[in-house]
């Protein structure tokens, strides 16, 4: 049996790669959270047709959706220091451009990317909420923000959940591009590993297995959440669906 593929290595190097899983997860979770918050803000701006902000939001979404993520990462990586240099010049501030952590560029690029995509799905979900419930809440004397927070967002969350699961999976795999901003996450670590062993194929098989497993985990989590948040039709045994943590 020739040693064309080192099957053992595929599995033995997984722990080495997993040492960088926290970096991957940090980028994923942080960008997702910020992406959802920014996306929600953009959705609300667009729904209320707030002048100027609506146009800026539309331009932002159009630009982000119209350009590759890889290009956005480079723009963040090269653009932010330039922006800071201008700020230093015009406002006589003294930001240390070389001291910016590489992670910052990555987080900004991914968060903005997520925000643009999420804003549209969140807007659709918010608008899917039955108008009658909104009127009922208003007639109780609730303010716009109370109605949004207490009635519309909880209801829209269930609608948007499968979509958010999808973008979360996309984002997780997208983080493998973070190395272009010289952030070492799992894929980045894989590259350096292979650089030493010249076992490129084995490394990418290992990485594929890890990403695949993580994706399955996310799918399961989203399914579980959906099940928990869905109210059963059963009239005789009402569901006490909200646990202590939700």
């Amino acid at each position: 049996m020739p040693n064309i593929i080192d099957f053992g290595l595929i599995f033995t190097q997984i722990p080495t790669l997993l040492a960088y899983l926290p970096v991957t997860l940090f980028i994923t979770i942080f960008s997702m959270l910020l992406g959802v918050i920014l996306g929600l803000m953009i959705a609300i701006i667009k729904m209320n047709k707030i002048p100027v902000l609506t146009q800026i939001a539309a331009l932002f979404v159009s630009f982000i959706r119209g350009t590759p993520l890889l290009v956005q990462l480079y723009l963040s990586f090269y653009g932010l220091p330039i922006l800071l240099r201008y700020i230093n010049y015009f406002f006589a501030t003294d930001f240390n451009i070389n001291g910016l952590p590489a992670m910052l560029f990555v987080l900004i690029a991914f968060s903005f990317n997520e925000a643009a995509y999420n804003s549209e799905t969140i807007r659709a979900a918010l608008q899917s909420v039955n108008k009658g419930q909104i009127e009922a809440a208003q007639s109780l004397g609730m303010t716009y923000s109370q109605v949004l927070r207490r009635i519309v967002i909880p209801e829209a969350f269930i609608v948007v959940l499968p979509n958010l699961g999808n973008t979360l999976i996309g984002l997780l795999k997208g983080t493998s591009l973070a190395f272009v901003c010289s952030v070492t996450e799992m894929t980045g670590r894989g590259k350096t590993l292979a650089g030493h062993s010249y076992r490129y194929f084995e490394v990418y098989i290992s990485l594929a297995l890890i990403y695949w497993a993580l994706t399955i985990l996310i799918e399961l989590l989203v399914k579980y959440l959906e099940k928990r948040l869905t109210i059963s039709d059963d009239k005789n045994t009402p569901s006490y669906r909200r646990g202590k943590w939700l």
Partner: protein, 252 residues
Amino acid sequence: MIHINDLTLSFHGNCILDKINIDVKPHEIVAIIGASGAGKSTLLRCLNLLEKPQVGNITIDNMSFDVSKAKRDHIVKFRQQTAMVFQQFNLFTQKNALENVMEGLLIVKKYSREKAERIAYQKLVEVGLVDRVNHYPKQLSGGQQQRVAIARALAMNPKVLLLDEPTSALDPELVGEVLATIKMAAKSGITMILVSHEMSFVHDIATRVLFLDKGQIIEDGPPSKVFLNPVQQRTRDFLSRYYSAMQMDYEI
């Protein structure tokens, strides 16, 4: 107690409400009847500003509201004097019966959780849903949902209860329980304005009936007068059409 002055609302050039003037005394139970599209629901929805009239003035219990100068926080304040029951129930689908009734108490009245829960539970007992407090709207029948909605409205202790065709979306066999609940609320002495197609119920419960036609009130009086001895020909036409439709129901 309620004064409505020159309330006017037009939509795309169509006049829906044409200079409506109504005075309602405390404890009155006012029923608004009329054909579809006469503006009944619109008039009711104007009273808690879900519709925005262009001209007019509404006063509820000394709190006056000039509709042409509507400000956001003023609208919210003004709304808190009334409570509304809708044709489609409009319960919060993500909250169970108890949470539905508690919502306004917690968020608008800022009651403590214990106090809100106590009041909400009490109101659900009053509408006969003590065994349904933990049910979610879609686990309830239409009649039960509407009773939760009535409990939710009454819990806010409004000065006026507004009911917008509260039984129109219900299966016939569920109408009775909702009407009984409304009657119970009426007996408690709350001021009520309702839009309804249930003429016998209106006859039974209302102390005053308004007939709305093409955005104008053309008949105003106690039910005995409006139903038995209407002044206007249009009211007579409406009522006779209504009675003949009822009779056809029975013949079938």
